[in-house]
């Protein structure tokens, strides 16, 4: 079963960190990802550019309308996502708890991926 780990964090808090601190976190991040690749659990995922690069498309009166910025204005922004293969929710939660940006504030939403039954 696949789970999507949506990593949300506070962009302003992240930006406020020293370069050294950021590099340390990114190093830890690479280790987590390498571990998931080795265990064969990683199915995909990527870091996203900051929300300043986001464009949101909505439909108004049958016409697509673009707005500058993310879908939801919240304190936490979606910074990246990982698709992992796990037997159950507890395994997915265990991986989510190791996401190194968690200590700098933020959250990881864990959602099972609905697979098309063949």
């Amino acid at each position: 079963m696949q789970y999507m780990l949506m990593c949300c964090f506070k962009e302003d808090l992240w930006e406020a960190l020293s370069d050294e601190k950021k590099a340390g976190i990114m190093k830890d991040y690479r280790e987590v990802i390498q571990g998931l690749i080795k265990s064969g659990q990683l199915r995909g995922g990527s870091q996203l550019h900051p929300t300043s690069s986001a464009t949101t498309v909505r439909m108004t009166n049958g016409k697509a309308v673009f707005t500058d910025g993310p879908f939801a204005e919240t304190k936490e922004q979606l910074g990246g996502y990982h698709l992992v293969e796990c037997g159950n929710l507890d395994e997915a939660i265990a991986i989510a708890s190791r996401i190194p940006t968690l200590p700098v504030g933020g959250a990881v939403e864990v959602r099972p991926v609905a697979m098309q039954e063949s």
């Binding site: 079963m1 037997g87 159950n88 929710l89 507890d90 939660i93 864990v110 959602r111 099972p112």
Partner: protein
């Protein structure tokens, strides 16, 4: 079979339903991998039991019989549906159908299944209110209506919480298992929290339907017993002790008119000696493990109160000492407040007021009525009447439960006279 014989079997089956249906359900969930099918199978198994036991007599191990019957009913049902939907046929073949109905599952695995059920219902990925509703429904076997009455919420709301929780267990694949030893402390925490919340709902709520709520405390104690029977963890033992010691005072806590009576004014002859004896023995057991935690410490404090023949004879130094340890194990402003009251009893009201004032000065508990009423009471004892009145008025403005409001109003009237 005569009509009377049939009635006899029916009442036997009813009794087995009351005592054992949850054990059967717990195992069927493991075997069928799904709450819905397991519940359906459970009811079919009990229906089949009335019929077959009237004919053949009650089997030696009714629980094992019911599990086998439930499992076969479920597989039968899948096969029947499979005729209409070929894709389900594969699912039916998935379950091991070779086991004959006479084979008896080991009782040990049935007990493990009950523990699995408790941990699944109290999984931390479910909301607290969903954990509670699900535990009462699946582990305790309360009906949706009974749960709604107990929490003063509508039956559809309870039903929706339970349906949602079950859907999450299925869709997100919350595992049906006892956590591994490394995860156990954290996961046991949520089980114990649900049990204690349940207990408090039945113990401290003085509004609503008193009888149903009293039942909730009873259910919590029953669950507490079940948990330590299955998993004798010191904190679980401590929690059961704490609940029994608190429950022992139930009859003495309120006057016939429903007014609150503080610990120091309670008629101690009304305390339930059976509960106290059992609670004290459990506290000793928890303490001897040397892995005592917040529940065990609170139970130990309750035990010191329970052992005192009169309020004056209470060993306040020991209580302050236990609060000191509790402050290290599980610090919170509420624990600090309770400790302040114990300090006042040991060192005089002035010492207690100082501690409470320092908590309030930090901006903590300023909205908590008990902090102000405790301060008011200590000021009254010191003869600082203006301060006492101001604190009682603040407490009255914050108190929400009717008996508590009446209690504070009475105190204010006493100050004026």
């Amino acid at each position: 079979m005569t009509h009377d014989g049939m009635e006899q079997i029916r009442s036997k089956v009813d009794a087995i339903y009351r005592s054992d249906s949850r054990r059967v359900l717990a195992t069927l969930i493991r075997l069928l991998g799904d709450f819905e099918s397991a519940e359906e199978a459970l009811h079919e198994a009990f229906t089949a039991a009335v019929e077959q036991w009237s004919r053949d007599g009650i089997p030696a191990n009714p629980v094992a019989w019911l599990i086998s019957a439930g499992r076969f009913k479920a597989i039968d049902g899948m096969r029947r549906r499979a005729r209409f939907d070929a894709s389900v046929a594969e699912m039916a073949s998935h379950y091991d159908v070779e086991t004959p109905a006479s084979e008896e599952p080991e009782d040990e695995s049935i007990d493990d299944d009950r523990l699995r059920l408790i941990f699944t219902c109290c999984h931390p990925a479910l909301r607290a209110e969903a954990q509670m509703a699900l535990t009462l429904r699946e582990v305790c076997g309360l009906t949706t209506e009974e749960i709604g009455r107990a929490f003063l919420i509508s039956t559809p709301t309870v039903a929706q919480r339970i349906v949602r929780a079950k859907a999450k267990i299925r869709d997100a694949r919350i595992p049906y298992q006892v956590p591994s030893p490394s995860d156990l402390p954290e996961r046991l925490d949520s089980v114990l929290r649900v049990v204690y919340l349940l207990f408090n709902e039945g113990y401290s709520a003085s509004s609503g339907m008193a009888v149903t709520r009293h039942d909730l405390s009873g259910e919590a104690i029953r669950l507490g017993r079940l948990v330590i029977e299955l998993l004798p963890d010191p904190e679980a033992i401590g929690l059961l002790a704490l609940m029994l010691l608190q429950e022992s005072r139930r009859a003495a806590r309120t006057s016939p008119s429903g007014d609150l009576i503080l610990l120091e004014h309670q008629d101690r002859s009304l305390w339930n000696r059976g509960h106290i004896a059992e609670g004290l023995a459990l506290v000793r057991r928890a303490l001897s493990s040397r892995r005592i935690g917040p529940y065990g410490l609170q139970a130990a404090i309750a035990a010191v109160h329970a052992e005192a023949p009169t309020p004056a004879a209470t060993d306040w130094s020991q209580i302050v000492g236990l609060y000191d340890v509790l402050m290290r194990a599980d610090p919170s402003p509420v624990v600090e407040l309770n400790r302040a009251v114990a300090v006042a009893m040991r060192d005089g009201p002035g010492a207690g007021v100082n501690v409470i004032d320092s908590i309030l000065a930090r901006g903590e508990l300023v909205e908590y009525h008990l902090a102000h009423s405790a301060r008011a009471e200590l000021c009254r004892r010191l003869g600082r009447m203006t301060e006492a009145r101001a604190s009682y008025e603040r407490a009255l403005a914050l108190a929400r439960q009717e008996p508590e409001r009446r209690f504070i109003e009475r105190r204010l009237n006493e100050l004026s006279s």
